[in-house]
């Protein structure tokens, strides 16, 4: 469904993403992990059209989307969320999600109905009338997901939607992602919280200094020497044992 072919992105002398080749199958839930500054978010920005890669190509659903604008890519069915959430602060939760729905539906009335359903799915129904900027961070992350879902993606890129959540919120988010996946949505998830990632993803790729250093099932990746050195650390291995 998504294929990256030797994608490289440089900022001046810094290579943020180096020759990443990656494939995501339809219906898959792929996890991306790696230390801060590893290039995870840059990779999302390249996939979703916010950055044009210096080298390599991005294919989505058979289309070469390299260098296309984010809105065109979204309309093809690939939507991303932002690590630093970007709610439409002065608008209500319902209006936020309605704007997402309007990408697929032309009538405002049916977009509202659509948005109400998505809000329900994401557990935001009690906050539909609340201004987005008044939401606490946990709900903002949910709003970010809800708004993206309203565009009816076939592939959803989630950028650290679990960061900063309390344990109860985290459970809710894991549950939501699982449900979406069970309904057939393909997902790529960036996450720092290893425990959540181990429970969600069947396959994890590890980025370090912009390069893919490992890929495999969660348990394999967690046991990989390079991954332990680069990211997880010895404590993680001990805790797992």
């Amino acid at each position: 469904m998504l294929r990256l072919d030797r994608v490289t992105k440089r900022f001046g002398g810094l290579t943020a993403v180096r020759e990443v080749t990656l494939e995501v199958a339809p219906g898959e839930l792929l996890g991306i992990i790696g230390p801060n500054g590893a290039g995870k978010t840059t990779l999302f920005n390249v996939i979703a059209g916010f950055y044009r890669p210096d080298e390599g190509r991005v294919f989505f659903d058979g289309h070469d989307v390299t260098g296309r604008s984010p809105h065109a890519i979204c309309r093809l069915g690939l939507t991303r969320t932002f690590q630093i959430v970007k709610p439409f602060g002065n608008l209500s939760v319902l209006d936020n999600v309605t704007i997402g729905s309007l990408t697929r539906v032309t009538s405002v009335r049916s977009a509202r109905v659509d948005a109400e359903r998505v809000i329900e799915t994401c557990g935001l129904a009690p906050y539909a009338g609340v201004r987005a900027r008044a939401l606490p961070v946990g709900l903002r992350k949910r709003l970010e997901v809800a708004r993206a879902l309203a565009t009816r993606p076939r592939l959803l890129l989630l950028d650290e939607v679990m960061a900063g959540l309390n344990p109860a919120e985290l459970m809710g988010m894991v549950d939501l992602i699982r449900r979406l996946h069970a309904e057939g949505l393909t997902l790529v998830v960036i996450e720092h919280i290893m425990a959540a990632m181990m429970r969600l993803a069947r396959r994890i790729v590890v980025l370090h200094h912009g390069e893919l250093i490992a890929t495999g099932a969660p348990a394999e990746v967690a046991a990989d020497r390079r991954v332990i050195d680069a990211y997880l650390g010895e404590e993680f291995v001990l805790a797992q044992a």
Binding site: H71, T79, T81, K86, I99
Partner: protein, 326 residues
């Protein structure tokens, strides 16, 4: 539903309704003149609101489009003996083109840089209009001939009142459309966060260009009518930064990004101006600049205590009333 509609549109009904009924009660030209100007400056501010309020592309050079409209109508009528309506259409077409160019620039420039580039654009037009003596009569300005009739826009005060009222209602409807339609929602998204809007499938750049272009065209309509109403076009007035600031001031005081706000602000500012002009004109020339001090003070008070403008105040009352009833 009906009561909700009345609550939301009641303000507009009062303002425009009062203007419509005014000539039945008052025949005083001083008063009618003030009313025409209130409606006209309100409409021009509403045009500004489309780009700056709804799309978030804050312009401080909208006098450029106003001037294009004014000069088109004045030149066609004074030099080529054409109807000012033809001039109005020409002004709109020229402003569409100019607006598209400026709007396109806004893709690269954000925030203050966009505002600065719009100021520069209006000042370039000011220089052209004031130096191109052979065509525009330069800094002397152009007197617009008065020929009675609707086609030539030589109208009495009452006719002007209803014409500007029609203009105001039309522009108000455009703004209501921007609040309720698909494109309005998408524009709100672009204003709030362009990256997020783009990620959600909204062609943000095209939308911004469209908003600035439409805003420019609406402003030109006001300029053309204003030239005909006042009967004289002075480049240092129609292309001035002062005028651009007036559009912004009316809207900010009335409520940026609200449909009725531009007229609420215009009621306050235009009547204040009319009053000050009547009080201080001629006698005490030392006071001619006093309006700037008063505008400044009003602006500071509004931004400090009513950040959502007079329309925000009305909304606050409505919420309070609804709560009291519940």
């Amino acid at each position: 539903m009906t009561s909700g509609l009345l609550a939301r549109r009641g303000g507009a009904l009062v303002v425009f309704g009062a203007a419509a009924l005014a000539p039945l009660v008052v025949r005083d030209t001083f008063f009618l003149d003030a009313l025409v100007l209130i409606l006209m400056w309100g409409a021009a501010s509403a045009a500004w609101n489309v780009a700056s309020g709804y799309a978030g592309q804050v312009s401080l050079g909208h006098s450029a489009f106003f001037g294009i409209g004014a000069y088109s109508a004045a030149l066609l009528s004074a030099r080529f003996d054409r109807s000012p309506w033809v001039g109005l259409v020409l002004g709109v077409l020229l402003s569409l083109a100019a607006g598209a160019v400026i709007g396109y620039l806004s893709n690269r420039l954000r925030g203050p840089y966009f505002a600065l580039s719009t100021i520069a654009f209006s000042q370039v037009l000011l220089i052209v209009a004031s130096r191109w003596r052979g065509f525009t009569a330069g800094s002397e300005g152009i007197p617009v001939p008065f020929r009675p009739g609707f086609w030539t826009l030589g109208l009495g005060h009452v006719a002007w009142l209803y014409l500007t009222l029609a203009l105001a209602v039309l522009f108000y409807a455009v703004e209501v459309y921007l609040e309720r339609s698909r494109v309005g929602f998408q524009l709100a998204g672009v204003r709030e966060d362009e990256d997020a809007a783009e990620a959600l499938g909204i062609a943000s750049r095209r939308l911004k260009v469209a908003a600035v272009t439409a805003s420019a065209a609406l402003t030109a309509v006001c300029g053309a009518l204003w030239a005909q109403y006042v009967g004289f076009v002075d480049p240092f007035y129609v292309f001035s930064v002062d005028l651009s600031i007036r559009f912004a001031l009316n809207t900010i005081i009335g409520g940026t990004g609200t449909a009725l706000g531009p007229w609420l602000g215009s009621i306050l500012i235009t009547s204040l101006e009319t009053y000050l002009r009547a009080t201080f004109s001629g006698v005490k020339t030392g006071f001619t600049g006093i309006y700037l001090i008063i505008y400044g003070a009003v602006l500071i008070l509004v931004v400090r205590f009513l950040p959502e403008g007079l329309a925000g105040l009305a909304a606050r009352w409505r919420t309070a009333a609804a709560r009291a009833r519940a």
